[in-house]
């Protein structure tokens, strides 16, 4: 059954067409890779799904429910969560408080609700930063800040997680480690869409790849099929080459 359905999504900025009539379906338990050269509209698709941009045309459904015009917080409440490309922890709060913020109930009456220290530790442990809970985000190395972003996202208890360039700025060892952790999320029953502009980290991880180019659907298939696809090679050669 499809968890996420994006139907004929179009987003324009003034005269610029960022995403043109793009469709995507994600099944339960899948990891889908969404790739494309820089500026191909991948992040715009995520921003539309998460309600950050008003969609120009098309429909987005989550578990069969139309979420096209929902606000971000409503979408998160329905079980969709996004790990954004930029790390933006709140520097005044420790790692544990940053995670706690994401567990607070959306209610003005809940003055002392939210996750217990034990639950926060569990969220952190799923991405292996449980020993950094009392550090401040500014003291963490880059890879741990990225992990904190994922821990925050996990803390909203999502069914489907959108990961926006999770491997950016990481070295080979860190990429391997993170890929293994993402693999574990899948075993726990999480569905994921991973955006990246290169295929490097994705090849072994994803079940299926969808390629975007200039806001248009270009190709879809298994990682091996995509790697061999001429049209994809060409799109990337025009840009920076498939790595």
């Amino acid at each position: 059954m499809s968890v996420l359905e994006v139907d004929n999504l179009t987003k324009t900025f003034g005269g610029l067409v960022a995403v043109d009539d793009f469709s995507l379906e994600v099944d339960e338990g899948e990891i889908v890779g969404l790739i494309g050269p820089n500026g191909s509209g991948k992040s715009t698709v995520f921003n539309c799904i998460m309600g950050l941009y008003d969609v120009t045309d098309g429909e987005i459904r989550f578990n069969g429910v139309d979420i096209t015009s929902d606000s971000t917080h409503q979408i998160v409440a329905k079980g969709l969560s996004r790990v954004s490309q930029e790390s933006n922890p709140i520097d005044l709060y420790s790692v544990s408080e940053n995670i706690r913020l994401f567990t607070l109930p959306n209610s003005i009456r809940s003055l002392h609700g939210g996750a217990s220290d034990e639950e926060i530790r569990e969220y952190a442990a799923r991405i292996d930063i449980e020993d950094k809970l009392h550090e401040m985000p500014s003291e963490l190395p880059h890879a741990d800040v990225r992990r904190l972003e994922i821990a925050k996202s996990l803390a909203t208890e999502p069914e489907l997680m959108l990961l926006d360039e999770p491997f950016a700025g990481m070295n080979q060892a860190e990429i391997g480690e993170l890929a293994a952790q993402i693999e574990r999320f899948r075993e726990d029953g999480m569905t994921m869409v991973v955006v990246d502009h290169n295929m490097g980290g994705l090849m072994e991880l994803v079940d299926r790849v969808v390629v975007l180019n200039n806001g248009d659907f270009l190709a879809a298939g298994t990682p091996a099929e995509i790697a061999a696809d001429d049209a994809v090679q060409e799109a990337y050669l025009a840009g920076e080459g498939l790595q």
């Binding site: 900025f13 003034g14 960022a18 500026g39 992040s43 921003n47």
Partner: protein, 290 residues
Amino acid sequence: MLGDIATLVLQGTMISAVYALIAIGFTMIFGVGGTLNLAHGALIMSGAYVFGVLAQGAHPAVAFPITILVVALLSWGLYQILVRWVEENVVITFLATVIVAVAATEVILIRFGSSPLGMTLVSGAVNLEPYGINARPRIVQFVGFVISWVAIGLLWYYITKTDDGRSILAASMSERGAQLTGVDLHSVRSKTWLIAGALAGAAGIILGSTGGATPLMWLNPLALAFMIVVIGGIGSIKGSVVAAYVIGFLEQFTVTFVGHGFRGILSLVVLVVFLLFMPQGLYGREFAHD
């Protein structure tokens, strides 16, 4: 009735030009540095007082350029001494500039007291009653209109036709882009504050010589500048001029047909409508990411 409309058009045309002059400096600073300069009204007020003092001893034609220079330097000094140290934090910046404005009020109260300071740029009035317009606009209002348009014209020329000016325009469109093409942001901002100061000085002279200078005269110009900037679109000079005319005519309309007490209410309604339905203003840029 017809006379009322003629008065409305005449007064509206003249006052709106001054409003545009008031707003342009504010919008330029907002556009280039993202800084809300709440001391803009205080700079206008200092223009009025400086001119008021100078005009007591010197010919207005001499006092006029000196005043503009003094206010330009004040504005630039405000940037160098205070704003550039806090500008990375928007909240601190507008708190600091509003405190500068109230502090300026105190300085004026200490030096001049609370009664208005009168001054003359040009004296005399025109009687238009024979032409069916029941108003006696003073010549200084015409002069204000002319000065405003000359200043706007000069600025327009500077920004679009000279390299120096184009760097300001570039910085207001995209700071990063401007930096990549080798524009020195700090010097652009300094220049912007200098120019905004000069415009504020001119506006102060006009306001001072039409209505006198008072210690609280910074408030209304600041509110006007803000309304105009929102309606016209941030950083857009063309937008400011158009919006100044919208606001100017709305105000004249309410004063003529509704009553003096309601002045500004209609403008506020228009402002709220714009903020809710067209937050980028008439000529603002739509922000596109990525």
